[in-house]
Symmetry: D2
Subunit: 347 residues, 4 copies
């Protein structure tokens, strides 16, 4: 039984970790960390856990926690994980970081886009970028996993085979992404009140969203390590969960649906958590809600010579907690799918 600690267990991603781990056969949560709710009953913060979780929320005590837990998930604001990690901690436990601290290999890029100093850049190189379908072989045995961002997971998975196979001109990539509101977190802000979000839609962080360099870096690796830039625009949608990505790029040559499909199958055909939809079917977030699936499809536009690639996932599952559990399974040598096979919940 893997003993698990969660730092930041009262955010939406933290709570989703709890939900998933309660259904995991080989894991047990031993530490519900939450600076905001210290000593309060976890179930008083999340009423769905009433009678399912008896524990109280604990402060971050890294010494104690790293001894108690085989794996620590940090579902915390940027910068916190980097400030907690050290050799002693990493010698005692595994860390799966749901923040961005160890996702970007170039510390100057991180510091520029996030506007904070990185407190432990010495671990960046070691950290494995935990996009399981692409980096699976590097994950087992890693001490420090950088769990990918929600938008980035969806964006990268939608385009990876096309970039890898040189089917698209990487200078023409435009990624238009739409997210449910749980991605904005549980902080009390006017902008996220029900009446402000409901019945409305907007773009935000246009040209400046922090997931941009993460997408660029990872797609750059697929592009033989060459740097690339692209446009990424996130939007806020009046729904709880779900990310939909619509990505555009010029094809490098005339190609039909079957040829592009072959590229997707080359990389994804054995991936349980990636569902390549039938021709003509567009991904919809309702079909992945509550699950770890990413649904992918695309349309070739002969008129313009572009491909329109689409992907849908649940931002709290494959976009956060689900992928984190998938990483934990790989790190600890458990069946990768354990705890993650529930069908999507609809409606």
């Amino acid at each position: 039984m893997v003993k698990v600690g969660i730092i930041g267990s009262t955010g939406y991603a933290g709570q989703e970790l709890v939900r998933l781990l309660l259904g995991h056969k080989d894991a047990e949560i031993v530490w519900y960390g939450s600076r905001s709710y210290i000593d309060q009953s976890y179930a008083s913060v999340y009423g769905n856990m009433f009678k399912l979780v008896d524990s109280k929320c604990l402060d971050d005590n890294m010494d104690e926690l790293s001894s108690a837990a085989d794996v620590i998930f940090t579902a915390t604001p940027q910068g916190l994980c980097a400030s907690l990690v050290n050799d002693e901690v990493l010698s005692k436990t595994k860390i799966i970081d749901l923040s961005a601290d160890f996702r970007i290999k170039d510390v100057s890029v991180y510091e520029k886009w996030y506007g904070i100093e990185h407190k432990s850049p010495q671990y960046i190189k070691e950290a494995v970028y935990g996009l399981c379908e692409i980096n699976r072989k590097d994950i087992p045995g890693a001490r420090l996993i950088a769990n990918p961002g929600c938008y980035t997971t969806c964006s990268i998975l939608s385009l990876y085979p096309l970039v890898k196979e040189r089917l698209i001109d990487v200078d023409t990539i435009v990624i238009d992404a739409k997210s449910g509101t749980s991605g904005a977190g549980r902080g009390a802000k006017v902008a996220n009140l029900f009446c402000e979000v409901n019945e409305s839609m907007k773009a935000y962080g246009v040209t400046t969203h922090r997931h941009t360099p993460e997408i660029e870096e990872q797609l750059g690796y697929a592009y033989e390590g060459k740097p690339l830039t692209l446009n990424f625009t996130p939007h806020l949608v009046p729904m709880n969960r779900g990310i939909l990505v619509t990505a555009y790029a010029k094809l490098t040559k005339k190609a039909d649906w079957d040829e592009l499909r072959a590229a997707y199958e080359k990389y994804y055909k054995d991936e349980f958590f990636i569902r390549l939809l039938d021709k003509g079917v567009c991904p919809e977030t309702r079909w992945v809600e509550g699950s770890n699936f990413t649904d992918i499809n695309f349309v070739v536009d002969e008129r313009t010579g572009r491909v329109v690639a689409m992907a849908a996932l649940d931002n709290l599952v494959k976009g956060a907690a689900g992928q984190a559990v998938q990483n934990m399974n790989l790190v600890m040598g458990i069946d990768e799918k354990e705890g993650l096979t529930m069908p999507p919940l609809f409606p």
Copy 2:
């Protein structure tokens, strides 16, 4: 492994049965019945099931189905189950009927409220009303289970201990119920379009809703078999899932919260699927979504001498498919909780 057939598998309750049974260790779906989608792939009707269900939808062939299945769920319009049941069928398989056909013992009451003739009244007496927490002992071994309605489950559970213990005046009961829109089914009607339901609320079926006599009959049994009448008013709420009941009644004597709580605990304290909330906490549908829980609490109003009892459940789970699986487990001698222990999904 219990072999399961579902008639009406493409309605919302039918699809929820599929979702739950896919996670059930001891059951296997062998028949996806759907008159509306015969020969179509089930996953084309419900995209969440893509790659999880390979089967096609089948017509209702009761002969074949009753031989193939150990248990048949009928998630169908009123009247259909009654027209399918006969001695041969019941000798070969168990039937768990999610429609109202066998819920009401007095066939004239059924025919009056539902406006249709009952096609097999001879089986009404035998049928067990499958409100597990109340009729658990009668369920194992039954051939025909009348799975309770969504509103009725929530209404009865909210008031049962108070009626049974004579703590409320049954002539003063008013039940004001609110339901998410999945309760209205998947039929293509203007009234259920997104733009008609969203941003609105209404009562419907005022004084005439068919769940009224079902609630009255069951609470009457709790009241030593004496008949009672009450007001039940359903409302449509712009959300997918969830029923909230707010029930009012005069107390028969001055009583405080602790005394009434003792009555609830007398009947529910060992019930896994009933969560009696802490004093001062009101049930909310978000805390039960996707789960088989019913959350219950109440407030005593000293000023008016009334109790306000509240209950929340997921209409598709405890209000339909979840309770149906719970009944199947009891009928087939499986652990009652099997397949039903997933925590509620939030947000």
Copy 3:
């Protein structure tokens, strides 16, 4: 042209006043008061007002404001208006208070339910309770109007004719009310975040909501001034606007729909803002959104001897700003309907 000042113009009710007054032929807003946004452009707080309102938000300066404005609306937290009113102010301007400070005639009842000391009880007697359809004759010329609460307007209007005509037993009244989330205000609270409210429903303030004594007092006046108590339960609904009231009471004698309808017509038949629906039609909040209408209907339940009365209004219009403008019109001798005749917005 009536010069209008608004204290609390950046709350939802304050902003609705702005929306309505921009369309009012005889009124001009001269003061956008907002402690929270002093010196900020009003349109930066409410983007819908971009290019329509050029003003900045001002602090509360009662001296200056009472000289500048013919009418002041106070759309502020409880207690503030009571602390601002004095003889000098009332000698210079009219006050229409959207808070509860002057609604309840018995100051001890106010202080008990609101938990604060009343700072100017000497003006309570003078204040007119501005439920226009019932107290119209007292409003012209008044210096201080207590604008009714949203729930109370809907609750009182739904039952007033029945109480006045002694058609219901006032000891049996149960009012179950449901409100959109704008009623909770624009404060940044976790409980009102999109993801917390969306896809859920709950009761709150059960037996303790502050609109209870206001409803009781006003219905008591209709009941020849005799005190009465009742149950009032508010619920939070995942929609922006709208209140729906479902009220229950025993009839004092056997009566059919036509008899009760006659009572409603006796009081409401010439009321433009009250729409008595056709028999069999239930009020729905979507049909009143954005308008000053209250839609009313009822069902007689012969089985239980109860009437189920229903009413729907827009909590920000007839439940707050619209009624306040209606009061202003009456106070200032303008056509009562001016600025309030826009049809409801649907969908």
Copy 4:
């Protein structure tokens, strides 16, 4: 007083025409056409109009209607208006067609994208494309107005100044558009049920949506009449009203925000219904709901050399009925803003 007839008055756009025209000083509706609801009271179809509209729905009788009405709005499925228009009709009345029948000048393009034969191509040349801000001078006196599509209005207005001023490379245009569900109409389809749309998002009509050639044609005129092709992708969003367009294109030269803003101001600075937002402010559909405004802004991305242009409007107002009334005002010599100055409704 302009006498107005509406064919298709019971669709969402038709009903919005009714709402707007009820508030129009110089217009009067004399004909509520609706094939689906002949002889039914209009207010029974749209409860918001109860007591505001007394009329019944009428069949399409073009002879009678063209004599009775000075202006006829056709808010009908594609093909119907083309089948009704003839010389006699056009000699007696003006037609403002909300369908696509007369929007596209090349009849073969129309017939290819819409898949139907055009029944009166002889009037296409005469028809004026009623995008008022761009074609205002051609509208007065026209007999036949092709009222632009909702997506097209938003798309064209967002990019027009940039194309006209040659600031963007027209070969790189990608338009990603998101719409509320009222755009899908009031037909009873499973795909538009509340539970199917709520809590989900999807693209549809990818590379094949019929608004594509309309956008291309109109932007082509701005581009000195040269043909251009682009990608247009519509998405369905779980909200009632609102369209948000996010459009991408390569800049033809290095340019900063101020230079591009100057281009927008060149064409829009005196346009009442176009609001150019302040730098850094993104359009949001909530700020235009219920109004005829289009809010526009953009961001220059120096990293990629692209501009991201954004626009928001209410699909039923500026995207349909509001623009139609604006056209009527221009055609009939009424103040262009009459009936259209209501502020946006929020929340």
